[in-house]
Structures are given as C-alpha cells and as structure tokens.
Symmetry: C2
Subunit: 523 residues, 2 copies
C-alpha cells in the first residue's frame, strides 16, 4: 500500500488529533484545589482534604487489613470486595516490573464500633490517609480508612475508589496527588432518592442498580413509594388480595423481595423508607379490605428504618360527601370533610407511632393542620420553596423536595438549579437549622420505567447529593460552569464507567440523548 | 379508623382492580400455539415444539448433570450458573412443603463435542425435553438439553430459562404447559448487532451488558465498529500513538480490554467481528503513521473470528486530487481517484486474506467494482433494499442491514417494519439463498452513549433477532398485532426483569419514554 494514498487523510488527522488532545485537556487531572485551584475529582466533595504531588501505584492484589472492633464485620469485607472489583478490571494486569513493587498494597480499615444499626443520624464520618512509604508525612506507607461505624467505612471506601484511577499508559491503577489526607462527614443526615414503583413496576434487579448508584454519590435513604392509585405491587401476607391490584401477576414484590431490597441497601449504608400514601393515593388498595391499617404492623417487620412515610398529599375529600354512609358517619360526628382528612392523618400517625415509627407526611398535612400534627412528625416539602422555614419555626422537622428543583420528572430543570437548591434557605436560627433533616430528589414514575429510570435520575440526583453532603462554604460558588461542571462531568463518566446509564450533563432537558458525537467528559 | 371513611375509596377500587385483572388477561399465560392458538413465550420462536397441559415445579437447588464429551466443559458449567441466577432469585425461597418434592430437580445437558471453536456456521442446534416423572411421554422425569456443541447447549439454556417462570402465588419457579419437546436451530448463521464506539465511547461494562442482552435473543455476532473519524479508542501496541486519537485518556480500550470482550462474548456463543473502516472513515488514525496496515496483523491476534470488516463505505476521494504527492502518485499510474479507491480496497482485502480473514466490505465496494472483489468477500448491505439479490447472483455472500429497517439509530422505524424485513427477499434460487449469511442491526453512535444505548437497541433488535433465527413459515404472519406483539411485549419485560433498559415496544419513535403509567406488558 503506497503511503502516499493515505497522505491526504493525514491532513485532516493533524487537526483531529489536535482536537483530541484538546478534549483531553478539557478533562484536566485531579488536583488539590488548595494548592493549584484545579478540581478535585471526588463527588461529593469531602469536608476537609489536603493533597500532594506524588503518583502512587496501587497493587491489583490490594489486600484488606481490617482493624478495630468493627473492622472485621462481614459488611466491611463485602464492601471492600465490591470496591476492589470497581477499581480493578480483573483482566487488566499491570505491566509493572515485579521489582518496582507497589506504593499501596494494603488498605487498612479501622472501624471503632461493631454496631451495625443503620438509623437516621448514624455516624457516616471517616478519615482517609494515603501516602507512599518514606513520604514526608508518613512513616509507614499505604492507605488507611478510619471510621466510627461500618457505614462511615463504606463511605470512605467510595471515596478511596474515586481516588483510584486506571492509567492507560502505565496500565496501573494510580492515586495521583498523594499524599492525601481527607476528613469527611455529611452536612445532612437524610439524603434521599424517591422511587415510584406504582406508576411503573421496577424489577428488583433495577432497584438494585439504583441502590448501587445511590451509594456512589453517598445518598443514604431510598424512599420507596411502593404503591399508589395505579398499582399495588407489594405482597401483604395477611391481606393476600391486595397485590391483585398489581399491573400483572409478575409485576409484584414478594415479602422476600422487599426484605432483600432492605438488606441489599443496608449493606451499602442506605435505609429504605417505605411509603403507604393515604388517604389521597389509595385507590389500588381494593378487593374488600375495609380495615387496612393492621397491614402496617406487618410492614413494620419488613422495614426496620425508624421513619415511615404516610403520604397525606393530594387528598380529594369531595367524594366523602357523595358516599351516603360516609356522609352519615361525618354528620353523626359533626365533621366536615376537612375534619375527616385531619382525623384520618392523625389516626394514621398514632398507629405508626405505636409501631415505633417516626411518621413522615407530605406538606399538605402541615399546611392544613400543622398545629395538630404529632410533634415527632417529619414534614416532607414538595409544593414549593419556603415551607421548611415555616415547619421548623413550629418545632417540627423537615425534608426538602421542592418540586421546582428536586422532582426529577421535571425534565426542564437544568443541573445548576438542582445544585443550588439549598435546604437551609431562609432558616438562620441554628437550632431551627438542625430540624432540617436534609432533602430528597423524587423520581415519580409516570414516564420512567426500566428503560429510562437511571438516565432520568442521573446525573441530576448527583447535584443534589453534593448539595446535601458537602460543606455549604465549599459548594456555594457563583460560577458553577468553571468550578463545578468539570467535576460533575467527571462523576457522570464514572457512573457510565460503572455501567450506570447516566445521561449527558449539559442538555437543557434531562435524559435527552447526546446531541452528537463526543466525549463523555464534555456532554 | 372507622371503615366507613375508606368506603368511597373503594368505589373506585372495584373499577381499578377490574382493570388490573384485564391487564393481566392482556398478558395471557404461555401456551402451545398448536393446541390452543395462544402465544408461546419463547423469543425467538423455536423451530419445532410440542407442549402439554401440566405445570411442573422446578427445584431452586436445580442441579446440572453434564453428559457427553462436551458436557463437562467449563463453558457449560458457567452458562448453567449464569442461567440459574437468572431463573432463581436467591432470596425467593419456595414455600413448597418438603414432602411435595419438585418435578424438575436436575437439568441434564448432553453435549456431543468438546470442540470449543466458535466460528461462522457453528452448530447452534439443540433439543429440550421437559417432563414430570411418570408423565405420558416420559419414563424418567426432569429436563434434558441435547446439543452437538457447547454453543447449542448455551442456546438451549436460554430457551430453558425462558420456560422457567416464577409463580408469585406459589412462590415456585414453574414450567407451564409441560411436557415440552423442543427442537431448534437458527435459520441464518450470522445474526449480528453492530456497536459504534467511535462516536461515543462505551465502557467495557456497558459492552458486557449489550453482549448479555444479545445472548438473551440468540444474536451471535457483535460487529464492533471500533474506530471512525471521531475517535480511535483502541490500543495498537506497535503504534502506541494511535489511541491518542481517543476522546480522552480514559475513553480507551486496552488490548486486554479487547481480549476480555472477545472472551466474554465467546462464553455466550457470540463472535466479535472487528471493523477498521478504510479508507472513508479513517481520519482519526493520525499522528504520523503512514504505513498503518501492519497494525492489522496485530489485531488478528486479538480477534480470532474468521470475518473481519474492512469498511469501504462513504469514501470521499475528492481530496486525493487536491494533495500534490497523491495526485502525482495517481498520475504516474494513470489512475483516476475511483481507481485508487478500488486499488485501496482490493489491497486491504489481500492483506486480510493473507491473515486468514474473510473480508467483509460495505456495499459501496460491490456497487463500484463488484466484479473485482475477492470471491471470498462478504458484502454488507446498508444503502437500501435489493442489494443482496444482486450480490448473491454474482456468487458473493451477503449480510443484510438495509438502513431503512435495520439501522437502530433510525428512530422512526416501528418494530413491525424491523420484524418483517426479510434477508431473503427477492432471492428465490436455493443455492443463492445459501449465500445470504444473515443480517445485522446497526447501532450507530452519534446520539447513543451509555445513557441510552440499550434503550435504543431494545426491543427492536429482538424483532430482527427472531426474523433471523426462526423459521420463515412461522413468522411470516399478516397480523402482527395479534400474533406477535404479545410475545414481543413479554420478551421486552423479560429484558427489563433481567435489568436491561429495553424501551416500550409500541411507541412510534424508538427509545421514547413510556407515555404514562402502565404495565410493561402493554407499553
């Protein structure tokens, strides 16, 4: 083949490879923002960190050295194995000469407590230290994660995995900008994602994928909106007819499925908050069970998390006046329908509290009769901004999901608006700020099923995740395009690399396909 | 809680649960189409089958009984374990009393040959027999798969897995309509899916997901369009500068990645046909390598499949006349640019054949100088219908990918048009029909990346998969909405259940989200 024939192709090549190099430059290397002002590619951003200038090679046979009362927990060993398989491709052997050795051959994980209880406010803090042997700041080289709980250790493992990057030239997994010292903990205790399995059934394998991806961004509550008026997919053994309200005989969750989901989430430090939305969204509860409340005591056995969501939104009470024997019941008690709504919600709260649950209610309950809600109530905002300030002023706790910014089915909300939504907005009193448990992005399922649920959730849920995890001072920046966007691109590409169908970051409408060829790091 | 308050909710409930039941009826139970005319929920439809009326319970500890020279191959045992984990959820224990026993406790897999060679035309036939002990047609109960090769056994395992359905009432995995006798083999030897990793890089984990889903529909060739003008992601060790044409330093495939993909696909009976598209799509080959052809000999070590795709489409020869030393080279040989295009393609064919590859070329080569192509050439149709008849009339082999029906990035092609596209259309001579190797659906990547590639591929690729696997008489039906649609819905739900983001079937535009709440089986 005469080389001349290829020559004119190469005229274009110089330009193309130059633009390829430019693309690589647009995706700059991780760096310590303190030292150089470059982005730190850890999402969400840790509370405190220092970094250096060394590149360390990580042994593909990285070993776990468990320490402390909780270090030997199976949950720690399992999490280490999960992260090891995310960090290393088993087929990608490093070409490093045996004599060279590795800078990081062991990951020491020190866990102070063996208590595996996962509840709201569990200690998720951790410290990471990574250094080469003989480094300026180290006597013994290697990597260490220290945490008070196994859940803190799991958060630390996620951060460690994000520091480990495969170098395609050396074919080593490397930690750049070492030594690293990271001290981290979340700003809010409740960092949720809601999944709606009533509008579309999501198979267990898909819920597992969502839980995996939540753990990558350190979200810690899966709010499972299990049922709604469209379908009732969950088995309640004491009322076996209930799940006849499922879409089909196979679009269902057995009790064993639900327990498995809870267990799978727990291993990733994620609580499952179930919701039975009453009385406004209960039309699928059919088939002749007038006394449904006892089913809650069965659900208590499935869902150990201390919070339970009782719904309470979008109640249409008009029909109560149109049903003769309900009308009679109301008349006998001299109740208007709004009184009955209140009676219903408060009764449900009582039952939940008797079951040792903290009741969570959508904000309509607070807006309608806030003064009557049980003081333990957590009010779940959704209608708009400004609700949590009113809630915490009354001494109740609040979760923010302002639909204008944190409803993921609102496709016209760009990532910047998700990112800048602040749960503490309008709350200046420190004691009142503590009543804001955090927030939650909501993936309502009318147009989201297995085919598109992940591309609708990500990357915008990650923007909220950093908002809820990272320190306010670090993320309250005015110029997101230059200070945050590259890091969010990077995290979206990380999700893609881990097989998660996260959508392009910069499309104005969420979950739209890429607009043309290009790198993951700029779309 | 006074039951009266719930009563008016129940007014709606009757209607809703009735419609729920209707939805279940729209998703009828599997049945023998011979006996009752109901759909058989196996995709693609097997060649010959008979069924019965019994329901058999399958042991969650189902054991493999490997027989024959190839039965003991690791590939068989691995495939069995894969399918076991698809059939049984480890947490969903059957409630069956121990005394009842199971009808199917062992799967016997008999493989006649231990030869693990996977090449075009490998024997993929298999026979399945499933019966209860003491059944009318059986002496010994259980399930048996017989195949000539391990790849036939793997196809049989897929079919077996589709016959095994979890019953949410009994909590057993069951085979309904037993006894089953199935004899199956594909109509075409080449049933491909093309992935384009140049317009968007697809991480290895994503390619694995695509390979998994291909095996579910019995596709057997992954046509890997690795590079194009936009990026060059593949490592060629002898030309280490080539993959500097990748979008970024991490949007790359190492040689080890490529080998792993080939090996991963082989375990699922899928060949990887690589493509280096020259001379029309080679602008990313840059950085000063005028003699690129030797790189093909390195690629030969990575890609063992006997077919290699040399591209040859969309060549713009105009620039050759504008480049002085190319123009001089042409003038010295008294060549026009079209002569040079021909020279280039034929030279590439020679090199590929010297490397013991069968060259595959896009149809422009045939359209331009078909009489000069090497007789071993496989012509790859794409521009429109009617090409394969001309190709096979000239004695060459053909693969159909008519862009009007089998280009998956053409979003306005509904599943029915994909399904009814027939590779043998216009070819009546039996000998000529044998020259049609099969077909391929093409997933060009301009607007498909990790976020949406699976929802763009599925379910329409499945429509083509049945077209290429199943017998023409069985699938050439006039009323697809009643005879095929329910089965395709079912297969799409199966993909979803296995975690694959297959899109709704009936949306006119492919990969669009569901239009509203509803069952997977009707969307």
């Amino acid at each position: 083949m005469p080389p001349e024939l290829l020559a004119c192709l190469f005229l274009a090549l110089v330009a193309v490879s130059a633009s390829g190099a430019a693309a690589a430059r647009r995706h700059p290397a991780p760096a310590n923002s303190t030292a150089t002002g470059n982005p730190v590619y850890i999402w969400p951003l840790p509370k405190n960190f220092t970094s250096g200038t060394r590149t360390l090679a990580v042994d593909p046979d990285l070993a776990l050295d468990p320490r402390g009362p909780g270090g030997g927990a199976a949950a720690v060993a399992e999490a280490f194995e999960r992260y090891r398989s995310l960090i290393f491709s088993p087929w990608a052997h490093a070409a490093r000469p045996a004599s060279a050795g590795y800078d990081v051959a062991t990951l020491t994980v020190v866990v102070a407590s063996a208590d595996e209880t996962l509840e709201l406010g569990v200690d998720e803090s951790y410290t990471i230290y990574i250094a080469a042997a003989g480094g300026a700041n180290s006597i013994v080289g290697g990597a260490t994660i220290e945490a008070n709980t196994i859940y803190g250790a799991i958060r630390g493992l996620e951060t460690f995995s994000q520091l480990c990057v495969f170098n395609y030239d050396t074919k080593n997994v490397e930690v750049r900008y070492a030594p690293w010292y990271i001290q981290d903990e979340p700003r809010f205790a409740f960092r949720g994602l809601m999944l709606d399995t009533s509008r579309h059934y999501l198979p267990v394998d898909v819920i597992k994928q969502v839980i995996d991806s939540m753990s990558f961004s350190k979200l810690n509550v899966l709010h499972w909106h299990i049922i709604d008026e469209q379908s009732f997919p969950l088995e309640i053994p004491s009322y076996p007819n209930l799940w006849k309200g499922s879409y089909s005989k196979s679009e269902r969750y057995t009790v064993e499925d639900a327990r498995y989901i809870v267990s799978y989430a727990k291993k990733r430090g994620i609580n499952v908050m179930a919701e039975i939305d009453v009385p406004g969204h209960a039309e699928s509860w059919g088939n002749g069970y007038p006394k449904l409340w006892p089913s809650l005591s069965y659900m208590r056995k499935i869902f150990p998390f201390g919070l339970f969501h009782l719904g309470g939104d979008e109640v249409y009470t008009g029909c109560w006046n149109l049903t003769p024997h309900v009308k009679q019941w109301l008349d006998e008690r001299n109740m208007a329908t709004k009184d009955a709504y209140k009676y219903f919600v408060l009764k449900a709260q009582e039952i939940a509290i008797d079951l040792n649950w903290i009741p969570v209610n959508w904000e309509e309950t607070f807006n309608s009769f806030g003064e009557s809600l049980n003081p333990r109530t957590v009010v779940h905002n959704w209608l708009g901004p400004g609700v949590c300030p009113k809630v915490v002023a009354k001494g109740l706790r609040c979760i923010m999901s302002n639909q204008g910014v944190w409803y993921l089915d609102h496709l016209d909300v760009p990532w910047e608006q998700v990112y800048t939504a602040e749960p503490l907005a309008g709350i200046n009193d420190t004691a009142q700020q503590k009543l804001v448990l955090g927030g939650e992005v909501c993936m309502w399922g009318e147009t989201a099923d297995t085919s598109d649920v992940q591309q609708t959730i990500w990357p915008r849920a990650a923007a909220a995740a950093e908002r809820m995890w990272s320190q306010l001072e670090a993320i309250s920046t005015q110029d997101l395009e230059t200070t945050v966007l590259a890091r969010l691109h990077y995290f979206r590409c990380l999700l893609n690399h881990r097989g998660i169908a996260a959508a392009p970051v910069t499309n104005f409408y969420a979950r739209r396909p890429p607009i043309g060829p290009g790198s993951c790091f700029v779309q």
